[in-house]
């Protein structure tokens, strides 16, 4: 007869294996269903007409999302232009300069900033940033620059926390060796610490990009959602995420399939960014 404890141990183990497999199952389901809905239109209309098509009129058979792909990249670059220098500076300050008290203030502040829902960012953007841009720079205010500003702040926590981890993991001996050669603190940071933390810092930028490109609710409130490629910082634009969120509630037939095709493109971009970021981080650990 088999011991009951042994039986129970086996039972628990298999239950846990099943739990662990559930993550993979969910990932598979998400892929399968988004691809399953999104790919047929690529086959029917042609990938070229969707990805490079300029005209989006899904009820009339035009499914071009090229302007949205470009717009998504533009807001992401804009967000990075604002978020990357500010975020990296904060991370350097936190890891190299700040005293214990400032650290006790900054770290929770950054975590709380990460917790603020994106609709709140969108709302404050509409109430404060959009009129500011309209009054001082012109245009409607619903623009590339407003969206970039808000997204730049939203990706700060991601950039700060990941590049902070990278900076802190630079061995102390590097700093000591550099200081021993008479380098000032900034020379040490600039010539020794940042180069050794480079891959982690890059990974933080790329993950920040991933966050910006995937952001939805704040973007549809601020971006203006116009269907063309913006030609200036003051032009409104519509991102891939915005396209899905704006029309999913009422779309039917090929129109709905086209939104899933938009989702497929978004998913491929995000997966590529995550792959690059994880590769960068892994290389850092290997070193």
């Amino acid at each position: 007869m088999i011991d009951r404890t042994v039986l129970k141990e086996h039972f628990v183990k298999w239950v846990l294996v099943a739990f662990a497999l559930s993550s993979l199952l969910f990932l598979f389901l998400i892929f399968a269903f988004i691809l399953g809905e999104g790919l047929p239109l690529f086959l029917k209309v042609g990938a070229k007409k969707i990805i490079f098509g300029m005209k989006w009129a899904p009820t009339k058979g035009y499914f071009g999302i090229f302007p949205m792909i470009i717009s998504s990249f533009l807001v992401t670059l804009g967000a990075l232009t604002i978020g990357a220098p500010l975020g990296l500076s904060c991370a350097i300050y936190l890891s190299e300069y700040s005293g214990k008290r400032m650290k006790m203030l900054l770290k929770p502040a950054i975590e709380l900033l990460a917790g603020i829902p994106s609709v709140v960012f969108g709302f404050l953007g509409v109430i404060y940033i959009v009129p500011l841009v309209r009054n001082y720079l012109g245009g409607s205010g619903f623009s590339l620059i407003s969206t970039s500003l808000v997204l730049g702040v939203m990706i700060l926590p991601t950039i700060i926390s990941i590049s902070f981890d990278a900076l802190v993991s630079v061995p102390k001996t590097y700093r000591e060796a550099s200081a021993a050669m008479g380098a000032t603190k900034w020379q040490t940071i600039y010539k020794v610490i940042i180069p050794s933390a480079k891959s982690g810092i890059l990974a933080s930028f790329i993950l920040g990009m991933g966050r910006a490109i995937g952001e939805t609710m704040a973007v549809i409130m601020i971006a203006g959602n116009a269907l063309k490629i913006p030609t200036s910082l003051l032009d409104p634009l519509r991102t891939l995420t915005g396209n899905i969120a704006l029309e999913l509630a009422y779309a039917t037939g090929d129109h709905r399939l086209a939104l899933f095709s938009t989702g497929v493109v978004l998913m491929i971009i995000i997966m590529a960014l995550n792959y690059i970021a994880n590769f960068g981080i892994k290389r850092k650990i290997a070193k």
Binding site: S23, S98, L106, M217
Partner: protein, 278 residues
């Protein structure tokens, strides 16, 4: 002529200091505006009464209840799955191709933006499984979405439990599962709780994934198959459709305050744990 490196050093220090304060200032300004504009709107009537005329008048009671239902039910589902996965990854296997595969799955889930969860939940739960816009569809979508957070934080917490505790337990002839249940999990509990609190915070603030799965009915969801509205969704609709700025600010205060409260508890628990282990 070269600039003195010491002068550059000082200037850089000031610059970085200013940027750090600027980041804190952003948070203070955001919270300040929300509180300053929103607090006058909030009273017991606002919290406990039903909205009237699409939310133009009245309170946000159903949205508060909807938020609590959604957050608690998805935590109830995600916690056993997530902690179970973490136990499996830390206690039952060595690093292998299999654990790498599972980690890849978890990392990928964590990277997927919420609008894609919304898209998936809409086509899978709402349409294919015929749940319709319902609390259940929202809960299931959100469960998958918060799972990576719970797995990661639990895994870290379980790994931080000292090996000696396990060895002592085994030496008292406890089995593996007994050791995990009575020794490892209690020791890792604060870390696991931190993950749970952070996930609740995320559930409360989520919009994109919820609006296409749970819908936005203003009625109080009385069963799993009914549609409902969370505070975040209610706030979004009030603000975007320009229904009422006052009520939007009022909702924002309750929403942001709940999230801040939840996150502060999470960090309090975490800091206490860090203090204990170091």
């Amino acid at each position: 002529m070269r600039t003195n490196p010491r002068i550059i050093n000082t200037l850089v220090r000031w610059g970085l200091n200013a940027q750090a304060y600027f980041t804190v200032a952003i948070l203070v300004v955001i919270i300040g505006i929300i509180f300053f504009k929103g607090f006058p709107q909030v009273n017991f009537g606002f919290i406990l009464s039903f909205p009237q005329d699409m939310g133009r008048h009245g309170g946000i009671f159903p949205a508060i209840v909807g938020t609590i239902q959604l957050a608690l039910l998805s935590i109830l589902l995600a916690t056993p799955l997530g902690v179970g996965t973490a136990i499996f990854l830390t206690e039952y296997t060595r690093e292998s191709a299999f654990t790498k595969l599972i980690r890849f799955g978890v990392e990928s889930l964590a990277g997927i933006p919420s609008i894609l969860y919304g898209l998936f939940g809409f086509i899978f739960f709402v349409i294919k499984l015929r749940m319709g816009w319902s609390l259940l569809a929202g809960v299931l979508t959100l469960t998958i979405m918060i799972l990576p957070t719970i797995i990661r934080t639990s895994e870290e917490a379980i790994r931080a439990v000292p090996r000696q505790l396990r060895i002592v337990s085994y030496s008292l002839s406890a089995s593996k599962w007994e050791t995990i249940k009575k020794v490892v999990l209690p020791a890792a509990m604060p870390g696991i709780l931190t993950g749970i609190m952070l996930s609740i915070g995320r559930a409360v603030g989520e919009t994109a994934a919820i609006i296409f799965t749970m819908g936005s009915s203003l009625r109080l969801p009385l069963s799993l198959m009914e549609s409902g509205r969370t505070m975040a969704v209610h706030f979004y609709i009030l603000a975007r459709e320009g229904i009422s700025m006052e009520k939007a600010y009022g909702t924002a205060v309750v929403l942001v305050l709940s999230i801040l409260f939840i996150n502060i508890i999470a960090y309090y628990i975490m800091n206490k744990t860090i203090a204990r282990y170091s």
